[in-house]
């Protein structure tokens, strides 16, 4: 049974989510990939305001394809998250509570998630056509020059994600594989 969550995602809410939970996410989320993360962290280092409020925000690691006429957004599945590992702890410290991507995260990210209360969600990599249907609205809010890598404000409804790493550091990539292998050995 899926849990329904609507953003903003507070730290308290984030702490209630557990690794392996299936979640349908609704509300406003922001897109950012490598180049946008670099710029956000450069702003943060100079103590300047970010182009959107990261407090209780969820960032989706995605660079969508251009929307066809009539579409809110093009195909929009997750990109591999470890490339954002250098930047995520800074944003988590500033109040970010959720990240959506796919693939492993480094110990420095997990540490920041535990310390501040944040979750790492996985969306299905390679299912961009399916996932784009959950996006109702998309507008560029910063770094238009980055093209697909610009920061977009998305309104989503029932975006299907799974909690991979929770705020206690429990990791579905470890437990899922272990449980499957145990089921085969029986």
């Amino acid at each position: 049974m899926e849990k329904r969550i609507t953003t903003p995602l507070t730290r308290q809410q984030a702490r209630t989510l557990k690794s392996g939970d299936a979640v349908l996410l609704s509300g406003v989320i922001y897109t950012a990939r490598d180049a946008a993360h670099k710029r956000l962290c450069e702003l943060a280092a100079r103590g300047q305001p970010l182009p959107f409020d990261v407090e209780n925000a969820v960032i989706y690691f995605v660079g969508p394809t251009p929307a066809k006429p009539g579409q809110a957004i093009g195909s929009a599945g997750p990109t591999t998250s470890y490339r954002m590992d250098a930047y995520s702890p800074t944003l988590i410290a500033l109040g970010l509570t959720g990240m959506i991507g796919k693939g492993k995260r480094g110990p420095e990210v997990v540490q920041a998630m535990k310390e501040h209360g944040a979750v790492y969600f996985g969306a299905i990599g390679g299912a961009g056509a399916l996932l784009s249907r959950c996006v109702l609205k998309s507008e560029v809010v910063a770094y238009e020059d980055l093209g697909a890598e610009a920061i977009r404000r998305l309104e989503v409804r029932d975006l299907p994600v799974t909690v991979i790493i929770d705020s206690e550091g429990s990791n579905l990539y470890e437990t899922g594989r272990k449980n499957y292998l145990a089921s085969v050995k029986k």
Binding site: T65, S75, G103, A148, T162, Y173, Y180
Partner: protein, 279 residues
């Protein structure tokens, strides 16, 4: 000598950039659907169902299967009795430029790996040219996503490492990649040649249909053995656990030096895309 205007190559590349990104090849679909039928782990079944639903939506609506519409890898097998009228590289790049614009595909190429400014039109293509007998031109367009490309590996093994060394290296590459390359993956393996040729063979292996096995029995058996070992890892679709870690292992090989045993692993995600036309 048969004359082929370069504009025909542009047109073909344009068509295939769009079709390859929106229509998953039949061999890949069949393989995913067979894997779904064999998968016993419930979370894995759910993910495979979504993957199948996704490529159905993409085909129906002519939208990209995945937002990473890749760098355009273009393989040209040019008959020796063909003369191409006009500049070839420009013709291919023009096809990529038009295809990525017309198909609403993502532009994912930066001009310089260190300066990192997007070229804005997904050019240049990665071009692989081979001269073959005959008077035809065979063009394959394979958009390659980088989630899987980044998880690829190469190693110069010692001859004494033998088949066990190759086996361990391939299985380890898939295990270490884990969830990152969007499993279920296709594993392209290149064995032999030189450092660079092994990497090329691994990429070429990804172009072979998933239901076609290596010709030489030694490699056919190694493909089967590696597929079983990789699918015993338990990584599963998206890394959430399950049997279906890989859809296929394809091996290409070449003669090599007495002192060497190069091995390369080029991973591809479940969105293993390619289209081919013969002019």
């Amino acid at each position: 000598m048969r004359e082929i205007p370069a504009s025909l190559i542009t047109d073909a590349v344009q068509r295939m950039c769009v079709s390859a990104n929106c229509n998953l090849p039949g061999d890949v679909r069949r393989c995913i659907e067979q894997s779904r039928a064999c998968e016993q782990w419930q979370p894995a079944q759910g993910i495979l169902d979504k993957i199948i639903e996704n490529y159905g939506i993409a085909e129906q609506n002519s939208v990209p299967i995945c937002q990473d519409t890749g760098v355009a890898c273009v393989f040209l097998e040019i008959g020796q009795d063909v003369h191409i009228e006009g500049p070839l590289r420009e013709a291919v790049d023009e096809g990529v430029r038009r295809g990525y614009e017309q198909g609403f595909l993502r532009k994912s190429v930066v001009r310089d790996p260190l300066e990192r400014v997007n070229t804005g039109d997904n050019t240049p293509a990665m071009l692989y040219i081979d001269l073959v007998p005959g008077d035809k031109v065979r063009i394959t367009v394979a958009p390659k996503g980088f989630g899987s490309e980044n998880m690829s590996r190469i190693k110069m093994l010692r001859p004494s490492d033998g088949i066990e060394g190759v086996r361990d290296f391939v299985v380890q590459a898939v295990e270490e990649a884990g969830p990152n390359p969007c499993p279920p993956v296709v594993v392209g393996v290149g064995i032999g040649g030189t450092f660079d040729k092994a990497a090329f063979l691994a990429k070429k292996a990804l172009m072979r249909p998933l239901d076609v096995r290596a010709e030489k029995p030694l490699y056919r058996e190694l493909e089967q053995d590696l597929l079983e070992r990789v699918n015993a890892l338990g990584v599963g679709p998206q890394g959430f656990g399950g049997r279906t870690t890989a859809l296929a292992v394809n091996i290409e090989w070449l003669p090599t030096h007495i002192a060497g045993l190069p091995v390369a692993v080029n991973l591809n995600c479940h969105v293993t895309r390619h289209a081919t036309e013969v002019l």
